[in-house]
């Protein structure tokens, strides 16, 4: 390929990126703005900017650590402690497979779009809180405002060829946090493997399942040939309506399995739908990373 052509391809991709990036970023910022959670304290004394407590000076405390203004009000010496504010590494994985491009209605976004939005908004929130955020296999965890733009650019890439994605664990920092955003409709084994690898490294996090309402309701009837998004997988039925209950049972079984897996490795699991607003999902994700429930 000639360099000219290469440049042109690069240029057109860059333009496409430039078109898609700002709206996604703006939307993510707006979504993140709905959550005002304050500083990301560790609830213990440590190095940070915020005042934590005064304590009596012990043997071995450096003299310059003594807070003279406080000490002058009483006989003892006091040391002004600050709250420990340590940055954590959070690794996000957003399912890039074709199944995420599905949407069951014109009035709702594709699952992948919602997943990227959630991930980016979460990243905005975390970066604002001083954490380091990265994308599994795509971007190293870093902190700072510029990382947002980098993440947005990585997230806006083309979908992969495969029907279903496997969680990526590369680039995960030990004892950090991880978030997997996917529909988890594909084979369950890669998820199991990824979770066990994460558990080995002491990573905790959240599984966020994004589903389209159509996938929850199965509103089909009559003679239908179902195809996967790439067309590689198909299933034909005469009476789609009769499959509904069995499909829903399988879906519930899948969710139970995922929930069970998450519980085993100390992760959180929840399902969200593209038909509902993204705020609740974002709030849940943020809380899940806080470690509470």
């Amino acid at each position: 390929m000639s360099p000219t052509l290469q440049n042109e391809a690069l240029q057109s991709r860059a333009e496409a990126l430039g078109q898609s990036l700002p709206p996604l970023l703006a939307e993510a910022e707006m979504l993140a703005a709905t959550l005002m959670l304050g500083e990301h304290g560790r609830r213990r004394a440590g190095s940070g900017d915020e005042f934590w407590q005064y304590r009596a000076a012990h043997q071995g405390d450096p003299a310059r650590a003594i807070d003279w203004r406080r000490s002058a009000r009483s006989d003892g010496h006091f040391i002004r402690e600050r709250e420990w504010q340590a940055a954590q590494s959070v690794t996000l994985w957003v399912d890039p497979a074709k199944s995420m491009t599905f949407t069951g209605g014109k009035d709702r976004p594709a699952k992948g779009e919602r997943a990227r939005l959630l991930a980016l908004a979460l990243a905005v929130l975390l970066l604002r809180g001083g954490e380091r955020v990265g994308l599994a296999g795509l971007a190293q965890p870093r902190s700072g405002r510029s990382q947002i733009v980098r993440l947005a650019a990585r997230l806006a890439g083309e979908p992969e060829a495969g029907d279903f994605g496997a969680p990526e664990t590369a680039g995960m920092v030990g004892h950090g946090r991880a978030v997997f955003v996917s529909d988890f409709l594909g084979p369950i084994e890669p998820v199991e493997a990824a979770l066990s690898r994460a558990a080995d490294r002491g990573v905790r996090g959240a599984l966020c399942q994004i589903l389209d309402p159509a996938e929850e309701e199965f509103p089909f009837d009559g003679r239908v040939i179902f195809e996967s998004m790439s067309g590689s997988m198909r299933h034909e039925t005469q009476q789609a309506g009769e499959l509904r209950s069995r499909y829903l049972a399988r879906l519930a079984e899948r969710k139970d399995r995922l929930s069970e897996l998450a519980r085993l490795v100390g992760w959180q699991f929840s399902t969200f739908h593209t038909g509902a607003p993204a705020q609740s999902a974002l709030l849940w994700l943020y809380r899940a990373l806080e470690g509470g429930r």
Binding site: D183, A214, G222, H235, Q239
Partner: protein, 947 residues
């Protein structure tokens, strides 16, 4: 033409296509609906699931049926189906067309002639000879001729205003040989008709065409108990039916118009019905004809004659009448004779004459004042009939003794004479036969009429010609004098039985009739008609239209009498006949006429006049096929799961449709299966122990658990909300400032809710407020009587003053009309409302200016020495009426923030505060009555007033 029932087919061979339907069935069955492709990520979860019913790859049977129906409709549609195709059948025999030609056919005569013309045309095309006869004509020889010969004559044929007299007489006038008959019948049975029909049926095919409208006949109007009795008959006793009968006649300006209208209702199964029509005599005497509205037929018209007219007769006697001497009263027998047939006026002359009587009877009146006499003379000369009876007073007076009194036909000799008494030689005298030329001529003399006393006429030269009745010794009994257009008649005996037995006999009544003072209640009999020539004045044609009789010759009374019974005929057509002194109506329908339906031989074909029009069904069937195809498209889409968004809408429609269809059935089933429940329910309600919860208990408990202010729901959501929040705001103020602690206000539906629980009702009046029902008024009045108060608020700032022209004011007047409201006055300065809690002199709401009205103080409310207030009425004023829109000023929302602005700035807030104070005063007044009028508080109040 190939026929199935009433449907014929133009191209029946196309129907063979129906045989191909089974083949189509198998072909279609093999082709299942095409699948739809869907992208669906959840397919991974579907893998391995099997269909439970593998048979559905064939088209379902109902879809097949739908398609079969569509194809069948198309095939049948193209075969050209026609509903009621015209059947033509040509005969060869001569054709006889028979018309009844009576009044009963007049209504649809044009259609009959048209139909007969069509038949003639057809016969002409077929080369048949034709004869047309009309049964009302005199029988004549029937000859069959070419159809064209008859067409001109048929066109000018008209129905007669009578029915066929004797159809049987035609029977000898038909030629020998076969012929077919078309009989356009009026549906009535005539004498000899059955025989004729039998003959026609023997001769060939008899086809009978009958009209499809009802045959109605109006009988002559009669009298019954002072009212006009109208009766009508109909031919077929079907279900209930109403007909309108109108009475027409000239109005005072001579223009003919409708004067009366009555509705005659036929009961189901009855052929005759009647109605009484009570008309004032003025109107009744004007009516010249009754007719069934909207029916053009002589049978629907009944001319009225003198028998319907009732004359006004003034009865005048001299002096006061002694009580208890009824039989001796000079007027008793006159009254008895005239009361059933005339309208009596019993009044002094000067009062009676302006009532324009037809006759004035003076019974033994001797003296008349000059003015009375002048008035009577003038009245007689204008055509009045003055009938005088003699008597003791007349005999003893000097009236007409030497000079003939203008109001006496003869001069009288002094004293009169008595016959047959104990002190006289002769016997009582009988009557002589009435001379020719006398109005009484022809009346039979009963043998028992005797005259014992009479006044005698002076033998003047013209006595003989003035005598119209005499005794057998030649002395005049009744004398008459013409005067101007009128006449004066003197009966030389008393009107009571004192002097003669004449008033006791039937002759007395007949003589009064002959004098045209009274009129007959019924049809004139042969005797009354005989001996005169009756000349037609008005004649009726078959459509009931009046025609001038012109120069038609008169009819002898005897013939007319027969026609009155048998009905009119060619010799004496229906109409109004005038005799010497009265007019007689010969109507088409007599009182006894009965309408009898004709019965036809079994072989006759009876058809209606109208033929059902041909109707092609092709378009309908093809449209039906198209509709079915559309349904098939929808069904196929549904089967393939492609209806998508449509599906929900269709499902909703279908459910609604099924529910709509099923609901009445379900109700029917319920009502059919369960016995009627209400009596049981009523019993249980009665026998229920008092402590079981009753419906409405909730409302009662809620309303009585505390003081509850109430407002009337107007139906306008915004006004109701303002009322509710207004009372909330007022309740809050009461709660804060007084010991009254009202509950949340209650909205009242006047028709449904009990009012007894509430002391106070706020009633915002809207312009379109409905007037309460009687039950609601009863509740409201009970509420007012038992101490409740209603605050009427027209919310219009009283811009037009109380009761004025605003729509709300008018609505208030309308509503308050049914209420038990005492006299009102604007609030006086010393009314207790001004000081029940706050001292107030103005009562602003959202508006500040309006006057408010309360129950007026009693007139004797006195002001005692040294007391600033009158001792006013004792109770609570039941109503307070104003237009200041108080609720709007009181209203606060749930946070206590005023809902609506009042006035402007601080002054507005001051006004709102005053409004609240008024409200507090009002509720205080409602709950404490005139407590604050009590003298005890006067010094304290005075002290505060002084500050």
């Amino acid at each position: 033409m190939f026929m199935i029932g009433p449907v014929g087919f133009l191209t029946p061979w196309i129907l063979w296509g129906l045989a191909a339907l089974p083949v189509l069935w198998f072909l279609l069955r093999a082709v299942p609906p095409a699948p739809i492709r869907r992208r669906f990520p959840g397919v991974a979860l579907l893998l391995g699931l099997q269909d439970e019913d593998a048979e559905t790859d064939r088209t379902p049977w109902w879809l097949l049926l739908l398609r079969m129906l569509a194809v069948a409709a198309a095939i049948i549609g193209f075969a050209g189906p026609v509903l009621n195709p015209e059947q033509k059948q040509a005969g060869t025999a001569p054709l006889l067309v028979v018309l009844d030609g009576g009044w009963a056919e007049a209504r649809d005569w044009a259609r009959r002639i048209e139909r007969a013309g069509l038949v003639l045309d057809e016969a002409g095309r077929d080369g048949r000879t034709v004869a047309v006869i009309r049964l009302t004509d005199a029988p004549q020889e029937v000859s069959f001729r070419a159809a064209d010969d008859w067409k001109g004559r048929l066109a000018v044929m008209e129905p007669s205003p009578w029915l066929p007299q004797d159809p049987g007489a035609w029977i000898d006038h038909f030629p020998a040989g076969e012929f077919d008959t078309l009989w356009l019948s009026d549906g009535l049975d005539h004498e000899g008709r059955a025989m004729l029909a039998g003959l026609f049926a023997d001769k060939g095919q008899l086809t009978v065409l009958t009209g499809d409208g009802p045959v109605l006949a109006l009988h002559p109007a009669g009298f019954a108990e002072g009212a006009v009795l109208l009766s009508a008959s109909r031919l077929d006793a079907g279900g209930a039916a109403d007909i309108e009968v109108t009475g027409r006649g000239p109005d005072p300006s001579g223009v003919e118009r409708e004067l009366a209208r009555a509705r005659i209702s036929f009961a189901p199964g009855e052929t005759r019905a009647e109605v009484k029509l009570d008309l004032p005599p003025e109107l009744r005497n004007r009516v010249t004809r009754f007719e069934i509205a909207g029916l053009r037929s002589a049978g629907a018209v009944s001319l009225t004659d003198d028998s319907l007219k009732r004359r006004k007769v003034a009865l005048i006697t001299a002096g006061p009448q002694a009580e208890g001497l009824q039989l001796l009263s000079p007027l008793h027998y006159l009254r008895q004779a005239l009361e059933p047939v005339a309208d009596l006026i019993e009044a002094p002359v000067t009062t009676a004459l302006p009532a324009n009587p037809d006759a004035v009877i003076l019974a033994d009146v001797a003296r008349l004042t000059a003015s009375e006499e002048a008035a009577l003379v003038e009245w007689v000369e204008k055509g009045g009939l003055l009938l005088r009876f003699a008597g003791p007073r007349l005999a003893a007076s000097d009236v007409s003794r030497f000079e003939e009194d203008p109001l006496m036909p003869v001069r009288l000799r002094e004293g009169g004479r008595a016959l047959g008494g104990a002190m006289s030689w002769g016997d009582a005298k009988d009557l002589a036969p009435f001379p020719e030329g006398s109005p009484f001529f022809g009346l039979a003399l009963p043998g028992d009429v005797q005259v014992a006393e009479q006044v005698l006429a002076q033998p003047d030269p013209d006595l003989a010609e003035r005598t119209i009745a005499a005794l057998d010794d030649g002395t005049p009994l009744v004398t008459r004098k013409f005067m101007g257009d009128g006449q004066v008649v003197l009966v030389h005996v008393t009107a009571n039985a004192e002097w003669s037995t004449l008033p006791l006999s039937g002759l007395f009544v007949q003589m009064l009739e002959r004098l045209a003072i009274s009129t007959r209640p019924s049809l004139p009999g042969a005797r009354e008609l005989a001996g005169q020539i009756w000349v037609p004045e008005v004649m009726l044609n078959a459509w009931g239209e009046e025609r001038d009789a012109g120069e038609v010759a008169g009819v002898a009374g005897e013939d007319l009498a027969i026609a009155m019974v048998a009905g009119p005929g060619p010799a004496h057509p229906p109409g109004l006949y005038a005799g010497a002194d009265r007019r007689v109506a010969l109507n088409v329908v007599s009182p006894e006429t009965r309408l009898v339906a004709a019965e036809w031989p079994a072989s006759a074909r009876v058809e209606g006049l109208a033929t059902p029009p041909e109707q092609s069904l092709m378009g309908w069937l093809l449209s039906a096929g198209l509709v079915v195809l559309l349904a098939d498209i929808l069904a196929s889409l549904w089967l393939g799961g492609r209806l998508g968004g449509l599906r929900r809408g269709v499902a909703v429609l279908a459910v609604a449709l099924v529910a709509g269809l099923a609901a009445p059935q379900a109700q029917a089933q319920v009502s059919g299966e369960t016995p009627p429940a209400p009596p049981e329910a009523a019993q249980t309600t009665d026998s229920a122990p008092p402590d079981t919860p009753q419906p409405g208990d909730d409302f009662a408990i809620r309303s009585t658990s505390g003081v509850s202010l109430a407002y009337v729901k107007t139906g306008d959501a915004q006004i109701d909300e303002t009322s509710e929040f207004g009372l909330v705001g007022l309740g809050d103020r009461l709660w804060e400032r007084t010991s009254i602690e009202p509950e949340y206000p209650t909205g009242i539906d006047l028709e449904a809710d009990e009012l007894a629980f509430f002391p106070f009702l706020y009633w915002p009046v809207t312009a379109d407020a409905p007037t309460p029902s009687d039950a609601a008024y009863a509740k409201l009045n009970q509420f007012l009587r038992t101490g409740g108060m209603i605050l009427f608020d027209t919310r219009d700032a009283n811009i037009a003053a109380f009761g004025g022209g605003t729509p709300e004011g008018q609505a208030l007047q309308r509503i308050a009309a049914g209420l038990d409201i005492p006299a009102l006055e604007p609030v006086p300065e010393d009314h207790v409302l001004t000081r029940t809690f706050y001292l107030l002199q103005s009562f602003p709401g959202r508006w500040a200016e309006g006057t408010i009205w309360v129950e007026a103080a009693p007139a004797d409310a006195g002001q005692e020495e040294g007391v600033p207030f009158r001792n006013l009425n004792d109770g609570v004023t039941p109503v307070v009426i104003g237009g200041n829109d108080w609720a709007a000023a009181w209203a606060t929302d749930e946070n206590g923030v005023p809902l609506l602005p009042v006035g402007r700035g601080a002054a507005g807030e001051q006004q709102r505060e005053l409004a609240w104070r008024f409200g507090i005063n009002l509720i205080m007044h409602v709950l404490t009555g005139n407590y604050k009028s009590d003298q005890v508080h006067v010094p304290a109040l005075l002290e505060r007033l002084g500050q």
